[in-house]
Amino acid sequence: MKVIIAKPGLDGHDRGAKVIARALRDGGHEVIYTGLRKTPAEIVRATLDEDAAALGISTLSGAHDVLIPSICEGLVDEDLGEIVVFAGGIIPASDRSNLHDMGVRAIFGPGTNTSEILDFLSEISSRKESGEPVGVGESSQWRWE
């Protein structure tokens, strides 16, 4: 699967994003890492040009409740509603349901085993194949928990 790992906003910490990118590579995925401090518009543009199937957003700055919804809306506006969005980093439990409502299908906090993220990707891959809605703009209550 082609996956983008993105770092939005003013957050210079990307050890986690790089570990995930590497783990997905070793899991057989083609991973594009955007580099640091990307705007939501740039991340949407990268997802569009790369024709990625999934977008993983890593944020540790506390701005997740602004940046992630902005990316989700941008994807839907660009006719990219079928893209699967997942997030990782420091995202408090109280903020999660809002992100889920925006179409984020999984949120991975600190301590997540990388194999769990690979399991998530294979789950969405089989859901996509059977035509079940998992994209950011597709109507579904399903989330990885």
Partner: protein
């Protein structure tokens, strides 16, 4: 795989200017689908050189240069696939800060998917499609390459060889290989020690050639030397290498056929266990082609 109804729809929409469908079209081509698009006159530049010499960063400079002059720039950036997992970490895009800057820039990362030479035959279909969709400048970035990697000659009309300051003694530049095919040579990282010496060594090694290519000392980081090099890229007459190009295209198409042969994995299994010889394996694959 022939072009289906869906392929035709996507192609039509891409030609009408849909960026979403251009992106989908490139994925279809990558997955092995044939796309029949009228071959266009395209403007192509191949950028090659060893890993870490700064190819992607320099392309970032080109993107700024051309897009600020109103040209539409498309980049196909290739990185290696893992021979173990089949996965890839495609990091060229992050070296090009202008990659996501606007409608006149399109950057696509491609994994080699272990095609020999690091460039697959479908790159030429991608180039035709990009040209047909109105992209004025098409830049192909190879994987970090060695001295004898010149598959890029199959796809690009102009070749820029990028090197860094730390390249050993002059004999490295005297050796045969890609250096003979380069239309322009850039020694990048001119802010680092040894870069002047490296450029001089290359100039000296090429001085016996009839028409030595220009050697530019550049720094993608601060932009120094870039404008002069861009002038040479603009004025470059594509090298006369039609025979080499035909040869590389043929080998590339042959590789593509081989790797897409449905029998190939079975034959590799038999080779691995030693139940057939290499000769028998080759015969079996040729027979299966009918």
């Amino acid at each position: 795989m022939a072009m289906g109804v869906r392929g035709e729809e996507i192609l039509r929409s891409a030609l009408e200017g849909s960026r979403r469908d251009l992106s989908r079209l490139l994925s279809l081509i990558e997955s092995g689908q044939e796309i029949n698009v009228h071959t266009q006159d395209s403007w192509t530049l191949g950028v090659t050189g060893p890993p870490g010499s700064g190819k992607s960063s320099l392309i970032g400079n080109f993107v700024n240069y051309w897009s600020s002059r109103g040209d539409k720039v498309a980049v196909l950036a290739v990185d290696p696939s893992s021979p173990n997992s089949g996965g890839a970490l495609l990091g060229d895009r992050m070296r090009m800060p202008s990659a996501d800057s606007g409608d006149s820039v399109f950057v696509r990362s491609l994994a080699t998917r272990n095609h020999p030479g690091g460039l697959s035959a479908y790159i030429s279909t991608m180039i035709d499609c990009l040209a047909a969709c109105g992209w004025d400048r098409i830049v192909i970035e190879t994987v970090g390459s060695g001295q004898s990697d010149y598959r890029i000659a199959a796809f690009a009309d102009r070749i820029l060889l990028v090197d860094g300051p730390d390249r050993g003694d002059i004999v490295q530049a005297e050796k045969a290989g890609i250096i003979e095919l380069a239309d322009i040579i850039a020694v990048n990282k001119s802010d680092m020690e040894g870069s002047e010496k490296a450029a001089e060594a290359i100039r000296s090694a090429l001085s016996m050639d009839e028409n030595p290519p220009p050697v530019h000392l550049v720094c993608s980081h601060d932009g120094s030397g870039i404008d002069a090099m861009m002038d040479d890229i603009e004025n470059c007459t594509p090298g006369a290498r039609s025979r080499l190009r035909a040869r590389e295209r043929l080998i590339s198409a042959w590789d593509f056929r081989l790797l897409n042969n449905p029998e190939i994995n079975g034959v590799i299994d038999l080779l691995e266990t030693g139940s057939i010889t290499l000769e028998e394996a080759v015969k079996r694959l040729i027979q299966s082609e009918g």
